[in-house]
């Protein structure tokens, strides 16, 4: 019995390990010659072995495995040419400023070659150091690989960093590869024309995998091979005990709904009655094609409703204002424009951030919702 429990949990561990390891996710790509992996590998490996410079841009939406492919290629190259490669990684988010990026390059170069690094060096010094290093490394048959993530963010300002990197590639002694990674498809159009002319315009496009590909990939991930180091009776055990051995379709559904939340709908669920009143008032105002309204006009509407229907939900305006603020905090409503920041909150124009359909749905789902409110909403709609 102990073995039966431990085997599914063991399997779970294996699967979790696989899912969290990008190298394994993409390892299926290694075999085929048409994948971006083998193209990039060829590109970088040939520039390492033929001692030439290169620059390449990896484009594609997020989550298509650009960085994972780069990592895999770098790992492979480190294995093949153990001494001849040093990798400099920069991220456009972190090293937005040219000087700071230069410093980071110098720091990583120093780290890589066990040199001492000074934080005090000026950016001129750092630039010069980089160019000297490029030459020295080129003379020693070492390739420096620059990986620039969020490449589009480097293409701001004067683009001094890109210019000096790409210009250094034009000298015979340097031996470097610049790999830019970006999710902006027009990243190469952002370059200034003299920088663009120096860029080699190699582009690898990563596109989001199609349904078949995903299916294949998931199969590759989730199906455990017989010889995966698990005891041989694993399959038998899991056949016997379906619930604990295999992830069932319900668990997938559960996972999906926990992944794809609808934040606005969720926050609509647990609103108080008063807050719902305010939302319905705002909706009525919008239906009357009143384009701009603020708290006071909402209050007017609220009062008129209360007067007409005499419900028990009549509150003082300070209480209503508190509820209004709460709605603002939950971002179910927002200010219409950015002007008038110094105005009091009551007088700033506001807008609804949810659609009428969502509102209707939440009113229906809310069991404590008074019938009047539902009616008010419906009447407005279908009158």
């Amino acid at each position: 019995m102990v073995a039966a429990v431990s085997v599914p949990s063991q399997a779970q561990t294996v699967l979790r390990g696989r899912l969290c390891d990008p190298a394994f996710v993409h390892s299926a790509l290694r075999s085929s010659p048409d994948t971006n992996y083998s193209k990039l590998k060829y590109l970088v490996a040939s520039s390492v072995s033929e001692a030439c410079n290169n620059s390449v841009l990896l484009l594609g939406p997020r989550g298509c495995g650009k960085a994972a492919v780069v990592d895999m290629v770098l790992d492979d190259l480190r294995k093949e040419h153990p001494d001849a490669i040093s990798v400099i990684r920069l991220n456009g988010m972190l090293h937005n400023d040219d000087n700071c990026a230069m410093k980071e390059i110098a720091r990583q170069l120093c780290l890589e070659h066990q040199l001492s690094f000074s934080k005090m060096a000026s950016s001129d010094d750092n630039t010069e150091f980089m160019i000297d290093m490029l030459q020295e490394c080129g003379l020693a048959h070492k390739t420096i690989l620059f990986v620039l993530e969020e490449f589009d963010l480097f293409a701001q300002g004067k683009q001094r960093l890109l210019y000096s990197l790409l210009d250094a590639m034009q000298s015979l002694t340097s031996q470097a590869v610049v790999i830019g990674v970006s999710c902006r498809l027009d990243a190469d159009q952002l370059l200034e024309k003299r920088v663009r002319s120096r860029f080699s315009h190699r582009k690898l496009l990563f596109i989001s995998p199609s349904l078949d590909d995903i299916q294949w990939l998931v199969e590759h991930l989730l199906i455990l091979a017989k010889d995966s180091g698990l005891p041989a009776n694993f399959r038998a055990v899991s056949y016997m005990d379906m619930e604990s051995g295999f992830p069932s379709i319900e668990s997938f559904l559960k996972a999906l709904s926990s992944m794809q939340r609808q934040p606005k709908m969720d926050s609509l669920q647990d609103l108080s009655i008063l807050e719902l009143y305010i939302l319905v008032c705002m909706h009525r105002l919008e239906d009357k094609e009143q384009s701009s309204y603020n708290f006071t006009s909402i209050m007017k509407e609220y009062r008129s409703i209360q007067d007409a229907y005499k419900t028990s939900d009549k509150y003082a305006s300070t209480v209503c204002f508190r509820a209004f603020e709460h709605l603002l905090d939950r971002e179910l409503i927002s200010f219409g424009d950015n002007r008038g920041r110094n105005q009091a909150l009551e007088y700033r124009p506001v807008k609804l951030l949810i659609s009428s359909r969502e509102l209707a749905q939440s009113l229906k789902l809310n069991t404590t919702c008074p019938v009047v409110l539902q009616k008010l909403f419906d009447r407005e709609r279908y009158m």
Binding site: L139, L185, D186, S334
Partner: protein
């Protein structure tokens, strides 16, 4: 002045001269560290027997084949003179007890109190010059120095002379053509191994012919060197001690066996490594000349036994290798040609220089030891530390793939198409280069160099900088041959300056060698050019200032440009400015007082036409059969139509070659058995060029749109629809979402919630297919299409998963 011969680290060296930190620190470190692998080089006590090099005659054999010429002249008379002078290496100015009285140098000096340096010394009948490579004796009692055979014996008949000999590439033994079995008629092409080596290679034991009884095999100097009985070294400087002995500072060569890595399989038989180890030796120990050549020269040189191959430098402290740089065309420009005779006439001069050298070395000694204690002071990326830090970088073993790789045609083509490779000639820019060179020459030759300025403009990749630098190189060689006055050349790139004002700093540093703040530098420079106190020694030399990317020097009040362009107009400034930029109308955009100083002489580099591009590419690819003729034409026509950028054309061709290479390698991998790669496979064809052009010019958005998720496609189509309906440039998300939901409803798709739609919109916005505001605006955000709506229509007209979508387009 005199020390110009030694690569001492002088402070006055301008930044641009990369005459290299490789040599300099090595020297300054020479006598302070004990190399972890001590390589004792003892002086030989015994004789010197210098003999003039036998003049080798050219023959026509290619590659590593070397004809062992039997010299036709009579053997040179060998003087044997014993003058034991034991000294310890590494100590400078070591007193040598005995003065060899019989040496008679050509340039005798009267006051032998100080050291006197020479360019050239005639010693024992041999002429030694700075920069020569020589054999140096190593052993105490070298077995028989008297016999230093100039000619090699045949390995079969053990006689010298008598016909053409051929060298085995494996054992380096010499063979008469007639002695080889079967006899050879001619010197064979390509690599040749003697029959014995062939047998050994096959794994059998070969019996080499024994020498006749009683006769000892005389070993040539080359053999002795390769079995480490001799040293080879390069003379770095020559001087005479006060007591009359002649000394030389030499840079040692090392044979592969003596390196830490040992002999590697890819080492050539005649390969040597240059070390960064220098030593002082007496001229006594120098045997005679040999020649150590770079790979290129080695390939061309055919004959003589004393030829060696040297491609790498070996660092004796770190035990690693580094390629040698070609610094031929980047020597310092500042040298005065009058230095050439290098006759140390005045003792005073050499004395001071020497002292200063000592000072510097001591300084570096102390700073080096300081570095060991606290690594803080001299970080590698700060200015002073670089000299020490970069020493370490090198490779432990020369990687095999670099040496043993036979390049295919395609790989050769890729190499020559690199932007980095400097072509032998620059086609299509003769007229412009002529103009630049006339301009510069005018400036140099005119006595009161009329301050002028040349503005070069043209779109990127039309060879502006390259032509200017080529002109300067040509002038440099003219200057070397002595037909031109000395001048000073400073090259600055506007984009590599941290700020425009830094240009003063850089110029001043190049002129004087000192680093000051830019305000101070501006002050000094203004004084220099307006005829006040001059900077540096060569105050009156014309200065040529080449500023690349001139437009980057624009500041708000344009004072930097004004100052720089104002200096040439000053009398006696001796300054010429060449500015390079992209825009044609830069002078017009500037203040009138600047444009009047700059816009007078202009030179336009137009975009290349397709014929020119074709010529550029074919001239680079000369002798390499890798491209189809039409392919080149197609590429150049395409580029000329778009931009006329030579860089672009070269890159497209290189990319196409990469495609072809990739294809060839993949096919070889997949079908090892059917490896008979047909001839047409290894050639870049139209398809490759087409693919490369596609990659360069085509934006990838259509492909991405085609592979969007389902709702992404719906959103895009809805966006196009809404934009078309409203005729405005942008759409509110609210409206878009209603359209999408109603469409989905009508076509029985799952109706997405607003939150999902916002998420997808943000994703599309991230890859800039649409432009949208930040997601927190949710329903209120405005959306715009970043590409023409026709592209969307084209991309999504047929989408298999959403067949109903096309009716809304």
């Amino acid at each position: 002045m005199d020390l110009a011969a030694t690569p001492s680290r002088s402070k006055s060296k301008p930044r641009s001269s990369p005459a290299k930190p490789v040599a300099a620190p090595a020297e300054s470190r020479m006598d302070l560290c004990t190399p972890s692998k001590p390589t004792p080089r003892r002086k030989s006590k015994s004789t010197a027997s210098p003999a003039p090099m036998s003049p080798a005659t050219r023959s026509t054999v290619r590659h590593s084949r070397r004809l062992l010429e039997t010299p036709t002249k009579a053997a040179p008379e060998v003087q044997v003179k014993a003058t034991p002078t034991p000294t310890s290496r590494g100590k400078r100015a070591a007193p040598s007890p005995k003065t060899p009285a019989q040496r008679e140098p050509k340039r005798q000096k009267r006051h032998p109190r100080k050291r006197a340096y020479y360019w050239k010394v005639v010693y024992d009948g041999g002429e030694f010059e700075v920069g020569d490579d020589v054999y140096v004796k190593r052993r105490e009692a070298a077995e028989s120095d008297a016999e230093d055979p100039e000619e090699e014996e045949c390995r079969v008949c053990f006689r010298t002379g008598g016909g053409v000999m051929v060298e085995c590439d494996a054992c380096l033994g010499g063979f008469h053509l007639r002695c080889v079995r079967p006899p050879l008629r001619r010197v064979p092409e390509g690599d040749w191994a003697c029959p014995y080596c062939e047998v050994e290679r096959a794994g059998k034991v070969a019996e080499r012919p024994r020498p006749p009884e009683g006769k000892r095999i005389k070993r040539t100097a080359r053999e002795k060197l390769l079995s480490s009985d001799l040293w080879a070294a390069r003379i770095e400087s020559l001087w005479r001690e006060p007591d009359g002995t002649f000394w030389a500072k030499v840079r040692w060569y090392i044979i592969p066996e003596e390196t830490a890595a040992g002999r590697q399989p890819h080492n050539l038989r005649r390969e040597l490594y240059r070390t960064n180890d220098l030593g002082d030796i007496e001229m006594e120990t120098i045997l005679r000349h040999c020649s150590v050549m770079s790979p290129k020269d080695f390939r061309d040189a055919n004959d003589g036994d004393d030829v060696f191959y040297c491609e790498y430098e070996y660092d004796i402290h770190w035990h690693n290798f580094k390629r040698l740089v070609d610094i031929d065309d980047e020597l310092e420009t500042k040298e005065d040609p009058n230095d050439k005779p290098y006759n140390a006439g005045d003792d005073y001069n050499s004395d001071t220089d020497e002292d200063s050298e000592y000072d510097e070395e001591e300084e570096s000694t102390s700073s080096f030891s300081a570095r060991r204690n606290q690594s803080h002071g001299l970080a590698a990326n700060s200015r002073k530390g670089r000299i020490y830090g970069l020493q370490k970088i090198g490779i432990r073993k020369i990687p095999e793939h670099v040496r043993c790789h036979q390049k295919t045609e395609l790989e050769k083509a890729k190499a020559t198409l690199l932007l980095a490779t400097l072509p032998k000639s620059l086609p299509c820019r003769d007229k412009e280069m002529e103009e630049i060179s006339i301009f510069v020459k005018d400036a140099i030759c005119n006595d009161q160099c009329l301050g002028r300025c040349l503005y070069i403009h043209g779109v990127p990749g039309t060879g502006k900088t390259m032509s200017a630098l080529a002109v300067m190189r040509r002038l440099r060689s003219e200057f070397d041959s002595g037909t031109l006055r000395p001048y000073c050349f400073i090259e600055i790139n506007g984009l590599k300056l941290a700020s425009p004002e830094n240009i003063y700093k850089v110029v001043y540093e190049q002129l004087s060698g000192h680093r000051v703040g830019w305000k101070k530098a501006l002050h000094y420079l203004t004084e220099h050019f307006s005829g006040g106190t001059k900077i540096g020694k060569q105050a009156n030399q014309p200065i040529i200032l080449l500023i690349d990317e001139l437009d980057l020097l624009l500041t708000r009040n344009q004072s930097v440009l004004y100052n720089i362009l104002d200096w040439p107009t000053k009398p006696n400034s001796n300054l010429v400015v060449i500015g390079i930029a992209n825009t044609m109308d830069l002078p017009e955009k500037l203040l009138p007082r600047i444009s009047s100083r700059m816009g007078i002489q202009r030179l336009c580099f137009g975009p290349y036409s397709y014929r020119q591009l074709q010529e550029i590419i074919t001239s680079r690819l000369k002798g390499i059969d890798a491209f189809e003729e039409q392919a080149i034409e197609f590429a150049s026509r395409k580029v000329a139509a778009m931009s006329g950028d030579a860089r672009r054309a070269l890159e497209i061709c290189r990319r196409a070659a990469e495609f072809a290479d990739y294809r060839v390698k993949q096919s070889r991998q997949s079908a090892q058995s059917t490896a008979s790669a047909n001839k047409g496979d290894g050639v870049v064809c139209m398809g490759d060029i087409e693919a490369a052009i596609q990659e360069v010019f085509q934006a990838p958005h259509i492909q991405v749109m085609k592979n969007c998720p389902k709702f992404g496609k719906v959103i895009l189509v809805a966006l196009v629809h809404e934009l078309y309906k409203s005729g405005l440039g942008e759409v509110m998300f609210d409206k878009l979402a209603t359209t999408v939901s109603s469409w989905c409803h009508a076509n029985r798709e799952l109706v997405p919630g607003y939150d999902t739609l916002v998420k997808i919109c943000c994703k599309l916005g991230e890859s800039k297919i649409i432009l949208c505001e930040e997601g927190s605006k949710h329903k209120l955000q405005k959306l715009q299409l970043n590409y023409p709506s026709d592209d969307v229509t084209f991309a999504l007209k047929e989408s298999p998963d959403l067949p109903w979508l096309s009716k809304y387009l």
